[in-house]
Symmetry: C2
Subunit: 922 residues, 2 copies
């Protein structure tokens, strides 16, 4: 038996998505639900893969399977493909596993030939419609199949499409009409002849007058569009594997362009920009589907309640224009949502009053909408918390945290134009008018707003890099607006008052002209654009849906989320965002920035001391600053654990480089400049990252560790005495051997009873642990855990050492590495699970083998990066720690990690561990 390459829609199932693609599966599911769909069949993605593997040849037996399926469709429709009397027409559409809106090709009205036209006219009693369909077929086919799929580069940018569009305009001009719909059947028949001649002339081949040839040409063109330039770059951005391939759906045509009782539309079962549970869509009377999504005409609203802009005032809603069809579609909307338990993006056609569904798929949405829908669907018990958490990507959640235009600034702003709020949030940038410029300017480090007459799928890369997108035409469901929303990009479309002059690189509205390079601000939430740069405020952090969603995440996740913070202010912010502790308090922060003058002076005094006595004196001066610093932040954390890292940077970082500053410092310290210079020279290092820092300082200058440890324990003691809570975790950095750790832990053991005695306390809760940031520490974690009570992976340094990449110097080659695909991403941004991840696994496993209850976390930059957070969950860490603003992302990623784990194994991994409770000393 040969492989099954072709599935009649009603034969397919949801689980076959990988081979049927999204569209094929949607049609199959709708067939099962008894929703009216035109009959048809799906040619699987495996055919696409085979097609590329065999250099454009189809697998054995495909043709027979297609013919068999076609027979079934003919039986169902009572018509026959290519039959002169009772012709059946087909559409051929792409449909990949993962939706790639507008990236691949579609051909409609396949099967219209000189032989079938008369039969079709006879059958429909509508000559104008048939000739209109025929000229559309020629337009579409010559462009997609004959030109693009063959890889023909149009001369001087004038492809066959542009040539035919010119002919259409010329015809309208000759007939003195404005709209296509005003052309008569004879006009269109004449146009079709003109088209056919033009095609022959431009491409050098005649438009095929054979139904079979048209069909196979269309199928091949769809498969070929999988490797079209647009598709490839979209896949690269969305990380869709090249080898997945697309399916092709061949479906009996229904016609929205059969007259005023026909229509076509696109809708979302909920609002994809806000998540509001209202039916939301657009439609056009007497049109074919591509007219809506191509963004050529601004379409009509589907109903009254979601009517958005004054611009659509004259436009009738489907609800009013075709109330029966609207009600039927609204019922289908409910059926689909309750079946798929997700917001659906649907396409429908009304042919002579009959509703036909052409597509259903999970709808793309922006961040706020994704969050709101997830929350509301849980509330209405449609989905579980686990499912809800999986519905929002970290990038979508990130959108909510993105800046918005400050309403105050906006009120006083230089208003430019209003359009559809296609992608919320705020964006400021310099105006550019082509995608290419957007890419180039961004490379130069500029922030740009891409302004286009209409959103165009070929602009994908330009949209990707732009801060925001503004277009004069197109609706909320135009493909490109959909793409922008998918990325959470700030986007305004259909700003009809805008005149874009691509030649002059200007846009004009109400007499105001904005030139390339001028700065504009977009408010994508409201759909309003302004001249100049308006102030931004932080995003929807205390939005109720956001809060509710975060609670859902918390109910699901196992990983704790901590923050990296060193000031009471940051700590408070982090707690507000849900921080459950501080995973990294850098003691050295106090020597930088605000109020650092005095402590820095004492630190420098210590560094430039000649002997232990002088050093101790300087440390005594420094002590109250350190104690106060730790205490204030620990107070805010109110008993949540606070991991305080002992001094980490090499000492020369604190000695000024500048000769004048050195002179002043020498004077204020009362030492000679020569002495200062000589000491600085002494401290100089060739590779400071691997030099005298962290625990290495603590071992050569135990008095420095001693001062810090005493300050930490005393600040905790003082809080306890004040009736407050404190839970310090002392962290030793840069450890590569258990002996280093023990050396420092012994200092803690010495000081602890002294502090207890001083404050008359029996106990102060605390722990002593270490950073795992040196490869050797990960390798020898089993030994280190004999002494250390917790591990915190410092993945910044661990990445540096594991790769031998100096973070300060990678600029010279890492961008080129990414460009040349030597490495997929910058490992400082996304944790390298393959390499660094091995060391982390060793660290966790070996550490826990020695000390089963070992507390393990991460405090590198990766702690707020979603895929890295998921990795941390998978290796069994207890917490991740990240900057305050990344906490929500980390909470979500942690929840998703927990859900994924449940999905892949019914028993939770961490069960054995969960029995061991680790408590700090009390």
């Amino acid at each position: 038996m040969s492989t099954k390459y072709v599935y009649i829609f009603s034969d397919g199932e949801g689980k076959d998505k990988n081979i049927l693609g999204g569209k094929g599966v949607g049609l199959a599911e709708m067939a099962k639900l008894g929703i009216p769909i035109p009959p048809g069949f799906t040619i699987t993605t495996e055919v696409c893969t085979a097609f590329y593997k065999n250099k454009g040849r189809y697998p054995e037996g495909l043709k027979e399977q297609v013919n068999k399926a076609m027979l079934k469709v003919e039986r169902a429709t009572g018509a026959k493909f290519g039959d002169p009397k009772n012709p059946l027409l087909f559409s051929a559409r792409s449909g990949a596993r993962s939706s790639m809106p507008g990236m691949m090709e579609t051909v409609l009205n396949i099967g219209l030939t000189s032989k079938t036209i008369s039969g079709m006219i006879e059958k429909t009693k509508n000559a104008r419609f048939v000739w209109d369909s025929y000229r559309r077929l020629i337009q579409m086919y010559s462009d997609v199949v004959m030109e693009k799929a063959e890889g023909i580069e149009p001369a001087e940018g004038m492809g066959v499409r542009q040539h035919l569009e010119r002919e259409l305009s010329a015809m309208k001009k000759r007939r003195n009409v404005k709209y296509d719909t005003e052309l008569t059947d004879t006009d269109l028949a004449e146009l079709a002849e003109i088209y056919k001649n033009k095609v022959k002339q431009v491409i050098g081949k005649p438009f095929p007058d054979n139904a079979e040839e048209q069909l196979w040409g269309a199928i091949s063109a769809v498969f070929k569009s999988w490797n079209g330039k647009r598709s490839v770059s979209y896949r690269r951005i969305e990380c869709i594997p090249d080898e997945w391939g697309t399916a092709v759906n061949v479906q009996a045509m229904v016609f929205g362009n059969m007259g005023d009782n026909s229509a076509t539309g696109v809708a979302f079962t909920r609002n994809p920009a806000t998540g509001e549970n209202k039916f939301y869509g657009e439609w056009l009377p007497n049109a074919q589907g591509e007219d809506v999504v191509a963004g050529i005409r601004t379409p009509n609203p589907i109903n009254e309640e979601t009517r958005q802009l004054d611009d659509t005032e004259g436009h009738p809603s489907l609800e009013r224009a075709m109330p029966k069809a609207y009600v039927q579609i609204k019922k289908i909307r409910r059926k689909l949502e309750s079946h798929f338990k997700n917001m659906q993006d649907i396409e429908f056609t009304i042919q002579d009053g009959h509703v036909w569904m052409l597509q259903t798929r999970d709808g793309k949405r922006n961040g706020p909408a994704a969050v709101r829908m997830a929350v509301e669907m849980v509330k209405s018990k449609m989905i579980s918390a686990d499912e809800a958490v999986s519905r929002v990507t970290p990038a979508q959640l990130d959108e909510l945290l993105h800046p918005m235009v400050d309403p105050a600034a906006e009120a006083a702003g230089d208003f430019l134009v209003k359009g559809l709020p296609a992608g919320p949030g705020g964006a400021v940038g310099q105006v550019v008018f082509t995608a290419e410029d957007a890419v180039n300017w961004t490379k130069e480090g500029k922030k740009v707003i891409l302004v286009r007459e209409e959103t165009n799928p070929e602009d994908v890369e330009g949209m990707r890099v732009a801060q925001g997108v503004l277009t004069a035409r197109g609706g909320m469901t135009s493909h490109a607006a959909l793409v922008a929303r998918g990325w959470g990009k700030c986007c305004i479309v259909g700003a009809g008052a805008l005149h874009v002059d691509i030649q002059q690189k200007t846009m004009t509205v109400d007499g105001k002209t904005v030139r390339e390079g001028e700065i504009v601000t977009l408010n994508g939430t409201k759909g309003r654009a302004y001249r100049g740069s308006l102030a931004m405020i932080s995003g929807a952090e205390d939005d109720k849906n956001f809060m509710a969603f975060m609670k859902l995440c918390d109910s699901v996740r196992r990983l704790k989320i901590r923050t990296n913070a060193e000031t009471p202010k940051d700590a408070a912010k982090a707690v507000q965002f849900g921080a459950e502790g501080i995973g990294l308090f850098r003691t050295e922060h106090m020597f930088y920035g605000e109020n650092s003058e005095k402590p820095l002076f004492y630190l420098r005094k210590m560094i430039l001391s000649d002997n232990l006595d002088q050093r101790r004196a300087a440390l005594n001066d420094l002590f109250p600053f350190v104690k106060n610093d730790v205490k204030k932040t620990m107070e805010v954390m109110a008993g949540r654990p606070v991991t305080i890292r002992l001094l980490d940077p090499p000492l020369h970082e604190f000695v000024p480089e500048n000769p004048e500053e050195r002179q002043r410092l020498a004077e204020s310290l009362g030492i000679s400049i020569d002495k200062l210079n000589s000491r600085a020279e002494n401290l100089h290092e060739t590779n400071p990252m691997m030099g005298h820092r962290g625990v290495r300082l603590g071992i050569t200058y135990p008095e420095v560790s001693e001062m810090q440890i005493r300050a930490i324990l005393e600040s905790a003691a003082e809080l306890l005495k004040e009736g407050k809570k404190a839970l310090p975790e002392i962290m030793i950095p840069v450890v590569c051997d258990v002996a280093e750790f023990k050396n420092q832990a012994d200092i803690v053991k010495k000081i602890y009873p002294e502090v207890c005695a001083k404050y008359g306390l029996k106990k102060i809760p605390y722990m002593v642990g270490t950073m795992i940031e040196i490869p050797r520490a990960a390798l020898l974690a089993g030994r280190i855990a004999e002494e250390a009570e917790f591990f915190s992976f410092g993945t910044n340094d661990l990445t540096q050492m594991t790769y031998g990449f100096s973070r300060d110097d990678v600029g010279a080659f890492v961008p080129e590495y990414v460009e040349k695909k030597i490495i997929p991403v910058d490992p400082f941004q996304i944790l390298d699970q393959e390499g660094v991840g091995q060391l982390i696994k060793f660290g966790v496993e070996r550490g826990r083998k020695t000390r089963p209850g070992l507390k393990v976390g991460i405090c590198g930059e990766h702690g707020g990066e979603p895929s890295s957070v998921m990795f941390c969950h998978s290796v069994g860490m207890d917490y991740v720690s990240c900057s305050p603003y990344r906490i929500p992302i980390a909470r979500l990623a942690a929840a998703q990690a927990a859900v994924n784990e449940k999905k892949s194994s019914p028993k939770p991994k961490a069960k054995a561990k969960a029995k061991v409770k680790v408590k700090p000393r009390k």
Copy 2:
């Protein structure tokens, strides 16, 4: 049944060495061989361990076992311990698993009390001898048992020993005699009384007059001496574990001091300084053993043929003085060597003409002696090649490679003094007169010669650090000379003409005075010292024993030995030393040192180029230099594999720092100084070790790799065309991902056919592989081996990254780390098997899993360090590569690794691998 703590000598066996110690086992084996030994018993090392574990208490049942053993000894000797009529006397001596000459204590004549003295006189008819023994007992016991073992610190350096020595001198003065032996029995009896009073006065406790108390005091003192300061520091140097403990041997006394028909001596069955197969030793008439080994009197030679110095002209040999005893001992010598199959270090006592053996053990020897004996014992079929290889330590072999005084320079040298050639080789350094000074001066980076009146076991640390040791007194078998020889230290002892003034810190000979800090040269091979610094020549590299020994090593080892070399001269030297290939040819060497002017100019021109064309032009100029460089060395290697590493250092290393040099460079390149400075600024890196270097350069500047690869392949092609052999292995450095490697290997694939075509060759043999020097490369070795044909571990960099230790900066803390025992040794000197070793194992295992025949080697500094070489063997590497002068050491270490492997498992590990033959392309 309780543990057996006490073994009668005849009950012991060789395999019990761990619990009986070396001395105990030697006595047990001699008992079995029927060699006359005084009866006695051994208290095991386990008692020592228990003694320390239980804070100085002995285990249950020990006393009973000792008493039982004592009864047996009493039965054997017919005397009784503590018996007034027929007293038995004992000695108590230490004996650890591993010999620690002179480090622990001995007590003789135990059991002499006021009650037993008269019985002893009656028994021996020798009152003088008994009183002499008694005063010796008091001297030794009060010092060892009553003072040292109790940890009493002598006031002002005057311990009980010094006090009693003064009394002895005073007595001699009073009696107006020069030698101890001239004192009469009444003198000695009087001295004993004076001693006892002095002991009471100095220590505050009386000398015990009870045999039992004396015995247990002595036993405890021996156990306590295991943790004496000297023992501890000796163990640290020799890496003997603290927990081994010492045994105590209690043995019936025999007396070499019973008159002129009595004697005592120490001998080696072969010459321990040269290895010559001649009986070699020293003796003293009418003396106890300690007199010889303590180095107080210069002893007599044991026979005529080994008589060495003019100084001993008046001294009778044992051969002449006591021919019967000598013959008997010589027979015993043969018996022992053929039993132990090793050179023995023996102690004997002749009591009234009867020979008694007191000790036999494998004799310490210096390097040349160890090598010669190993070779000669194989030749005489006494031992196998495997055994011979195990007999020489790498450090001993190293001695042979050490410099010797240039005979020409010596002839013209300012001769100072002659002594015994106790440790061969040459040494130059500044004179110091105390061990403490030797240590301190060495810390300051000075090279010192330690000069002492007599060699003293307390000088261990000073001797260790000194370049050489010179003493005025003591024989070839004095303990300290023995220690020096064990370390292969250049050493001259017994230079009697020398007057050392420790107060003035001078030494004087024949009116010449040398002050502290002056430079002297020692020729330890000849025993001659000179003023000033004499030129050195390299050691016994082409000595026939050395050559024969190397052949033995080669017959045993599996690891291949390569060298790190970049010049024809070094390569030739390496081949002479036995190199089987070049493991690391650094292409950048040509830009440093001799003849580097031109290539460096072109390199700089390339670095300072603005664009690809300029860079290519400079590279074209550089090309012939690179090709020539590679070709010349490859020619010397005559077809042996030559691993050539592509450019490794970051480019800024080649741009001068000095402003004047920069100015000159700018002028010669015809560019502005500003441009040069700006480019240099651009190239500057914060952590160059982890910056833009190695393969990272090759990826950003593929034209640089291209030029090098072409030069390598062309140089091979030219040699082949000349009818010579060539086998280049192209090595890509600093790889951390397979994609980097592939990128460069693709360049090789591109260039190879071009070079073949240019030279009309069908094939050029070559391989392409990579350094594994970045932790990630080791972790992902499985992936990298998909592309790489060989791995070479760059353990310098791998150690840097694994520890996070910058090799250039560790000076700030690693010495302190070693001092504070945070790490046992500098990991750049001795490979860290625990941490870095794990990565190496991963690398080898994972690489071979992907590519079973993967060739693996090491080219870091560790490739010539013995323990690291053994590790390389154990993980299954194919070769190690080291500097030419380390090759013999590596050959030995590789052979020892093979022997150890055979010992621990009968089947060789590498068997599975051995089947896969890897050949380069031909």
